[in-house]
């Protein structure tokens, strides 16, 4: 199963290394990771997505929770959580009509267009990983020059 983990950590140097090292040393894999400071500068929030069966995810949560620098570890319920990832796609423009087509595609996914040049166009998309994946599939025939993705950021919905 795909799991979204929200980890509140002390905002100190080296914590990211410790958390990612924990995944490596315990034989788990990180699917995506994003980190940013919280409203309280003493803490940072990491969102890590990973794959594993129920037992493995439970064990990842326990091992993360055991770390002294982690203040709170939550396994978020995907259905009660808002989760988004930012992605940037640089797409090739081969024909005169490509630019319009890509604009339409970007609009359909709520994306924004940047840096339009004769030979390429950049699309910024903030969406779920599935939606980004779907956009990528549709953009592929135009020719994708480069992609950058941030990893998921997630917050549980109020009252969930």
């Amino acid at each position: 199963m795909w799991a979204i983990l929200s980890i509140l950590v002390e905002n100190k140097p080296g914590i990211l290394f410790k958390v990612t090292h924990l995944f490596r040393s315990r034989n788990f894999n990180i699917d995506s990771i994003s980190v940013g400071v919280t409203e309280n500068p003493e803490y940072s929030k990491m969102t890590i997505t990973t794959y594993g069966d129920e037992k493995q995810v439970e064990q990842i949560v326990k091992q993360l929770d055991k770390m002294i620098d982690t203040v709170k570890v939550e396994h978020l319920d995907e259905h009660k959580t808002v989760y988004r990832e930012l992605s940037l796609f640089k797409i090739k423009l081969s024909n005169a009509s490509d630019s319009m087509e890509i604009n339409k595609l970007a609009n359909a996914y709520g994306g924004k267009v940047h840096d339009v040049k004769k030979e390429s166009i950049m699309v910024e998309l903030t969406a779920t990983p599935d939606q980004i994946q779907a956009f990528e599939e549709l953009a592929k025939p135009f020719g994708i020059i480069d992609v950058a993705r941030t990893g998921v950021a997630a917050l549980q919905r109020s009252g969930a």
Partner: protein, 565 residues
């Protein structure tokens, strides 16, 4: 809050350690920790000089396991720090309380590949409970306070404090707080009584219940509680190797250690049981064999202080998280309240006792006069029951598991998790520092003892008289056994060819060396060593072909024992 006082970081370190009750540290000086060493002449902490930093860590480890207070070791930066890593990793693998203090290059030099610089924080992080690197002198008191607290609380472990040289020399207004908070650290959970009730219910409704006591039982000193429960419910007790001696091994309900080199009767009964009360154990592969085979047959009740251990290696039916002594106390109380007490009159316990007695009488032992079983039984016969024993790592360690009965709980220590050769002798020195009032013996093999034998200098010069009981087969015996068993006797890299002469070696350090080539000589040697006030090495030549048996081959289950033919 205590009053502020201006002092250097090095002085603050010593003051803070004195406040933690530290009476001695084990270490070796170098350029980057000299300001700290300079403070030894101005404080009451005894410095015990080692010959290699790895031994300093093992001594601190031995001290910590016996005293249950963090043992402290000191090393300089760079190679000094990297040398203690093996000792730190060993303490981590066996949950031993330890504080390692390393020197570091000055803050401004960090990251510039300075002379004797190593990123010890980065290297040590995977093998410590926590690592600190104070960047200003004023941080030192709180760092030490937190470090000792983390090392000894909950599931104990090693803490590293890496102090840059300028942090040691700089002066600051120091505040020695008694209170502090570590937000993300919750070392204790109160055991859930409902789960303890469920555990009792499960044990009572099982036909073949058994107790598996692990190292956590020893760390928590839950000996009396364990015995009370075993006796009330008439449960046979097996231990992991690390849990060896959690339960008196001369008790009628004791079956001794299970596992790769466990007792035949312990492995047999564990393989037949239908429900296990597992206390303070991580279900090591060396203890339970293949994980799948183990959990498939059994209902598992798991008690552990570390919630992350629940479900890590074995699926459990009932989990009780909390200090195991506290959990067992609740169980004892409930058993008394409900007046639950079983008698010996049941099929399972009769079968257990018959099996035990069969294997005690029928396990084939080495026929020679100086077979391992006879040697270790002689040692047991002559040692007072309160003696502390450590072991090195190898065949002798497993013979100790099989043939040296621990009578007084909590007096047997070994490197069981990391399996560190060279651990036993320095750990024995640390243990003797913690308990100078009892004999301390390192059961050793020549391969393992060779790795830290230079600690003889420490034992002699620091007047720490331990006994090395050296089963000398002039080889790396366990590797040799595996080569004989699994590699068609292709013997590579295992011969030690009677070098050195351990009697002369001991004497050259100013210790006592005695060679024992018969049981009479051994009898005299042990008695001489026990009455000596100097460290003694008893060199006992043994048959290099003697194997440790029974043996559960790696990757197999406990029911697949290789037995002596």
């Amino acid at each position: 809050m205590n009053k502020m006082e201006s002092m250097t970081g090095a002085k603050a370190l010593m003051t803070a350690m004195e406040k933690e009750g530290v009476k001695q540290v084990f270490g070796l000086p170098g350029g980057a920790n000299l300001p700290m060493y300079d403070e030894f002449s101005r404080c009451d902490i005894r410095h015990i000089l080692v010959r290699h930093e790895q031994s300093a860590a093992h001594m601190a480890d031995g001290f910590g396991r016996v005293s249950r207070k963090p043992g402290v070791c000191f090393a300089t930066s760079g190679p000094g720090a990297t040398n203690i890593l093996t000792g730190i990793a060993t303490a981590q693998a066996d949950s031993a309380p330890m504080v390692a203090v390393t020197g570091q290059v000055p803050v401004a030099m960090i990251g510039r590949d300075a002379f004797q610089e190593s990123d010890i924080i980065g290297m040590a992080n995977p093998v410590v409970k926590y690592a600190f690197q104070p960047r200003s002198a004023a941080e030192v008191p709180e760092t030490v306070k937190k470090g000792f607290f983390i090392a000894e609380s909950g599931r104990p472990g090693p803490v590293l404090i890496d102090i840059p040289k300028d942090v040691q020399t700089n002066e600051a207004e120091m505040v020695f707080h008694d209170e502090f908070k570590i937000k993300g650290y919750h070392p204790w959970t109160d055991p859930d009584i409902v789960n303890v009730e469920r555990a009792i219910d499960m044990l009572l409704h099982s036909e073949k219940p058994i107790i598996l006591a692990g190292g956590g039982t020893i760390i928590s000193s839950a000996f009396a509680e364990l015995q009370a429960i075993a006796e009330a419910l008439m449960l046979p007790v097996v231990t992991t190797f690390k849990g060896k001696g959690a339960f008196p091994e001369n008790h009628p309900l004791s079956l001794g250690p299970i596992g790769m080199h466990g007792h035949a009767e312990a492995n047999k009964m564990m393989a037949e049981a239908d429900c296990v009360l597992a206390i303070g154990t991580r279900f090591s592969d060396r203890s339970v064999g293949t994980f799948e085979a183990f959990e498939k047959r059994l209902k598992i009740i798991h008690m552990d202080v570390d919630p992350a251990e629940i479900g890590k290696n074995q699926t459990t039916q009932v989990a009780v998280v909390g200090d195991v002594r506290a959990s067992l106390r609740i169980m004892v109380k409930l058993l008394l309240q409900k007046q639950i007490k079983k008698t010996e009159d049941n099929t399972w316990i009769k079968h257990v006792k018959e099996t035990k007695s069969y294997w005690k009488e029928n396990l084939k032992l080495h026929p020679g006069e100086m077979g391992a079983a006879k040697l270790l039984r002689k040692l047991r016969e002559l040692l007072p029951k309160e003696s502390i024993v450590t072991t090195e790592v190898g065949q002798h360690q497993m013979w100790a598991s099989l043939f040296y009965d621990v009578i007084q709980p909590g007096t047997f220590f070994s490197s069981t998790g990391l399996g560190t050769m060279g651990w036993g002798f320095p750990a024995a020195i640390g243990a003797k520092v913690a308990r100078p009032d009892v004999p301390v013996v390192d059961i050793a093999g020549d391969g393992s003892f060779s790795m830290t034998e230079n600690s003889l200098a420490t034992a002699v010069l620091e007047d720490i008289p331990v006994i090395v009981f050296l089963l000398n087969n002039s080889s790396l015996g366990m590797v040799a056994q595996w080569q004989r068993t699994f590699y068609d006797r292709r013997m590579n890299g295992v011969e030690q060819n009677h070098c050195p002469d351990y009697v002369k070696l001991a004497e050259s350090y100013g210790a006592q060396g005695i060679r024992a080539q018969s049981m009479d000589e051994l009898d005299k040697a042990i008695k001489t060593a026990l009455s000596s006030d100097v460290a003694t090495v008893i060199d006992i030549p043994i048959d290099p072909e003697e194997d440790v048996l029974p043996f559960v081959a790696p990757g197999t289950s406990l029911s697949d024992m290789i037995l002596p033919s």
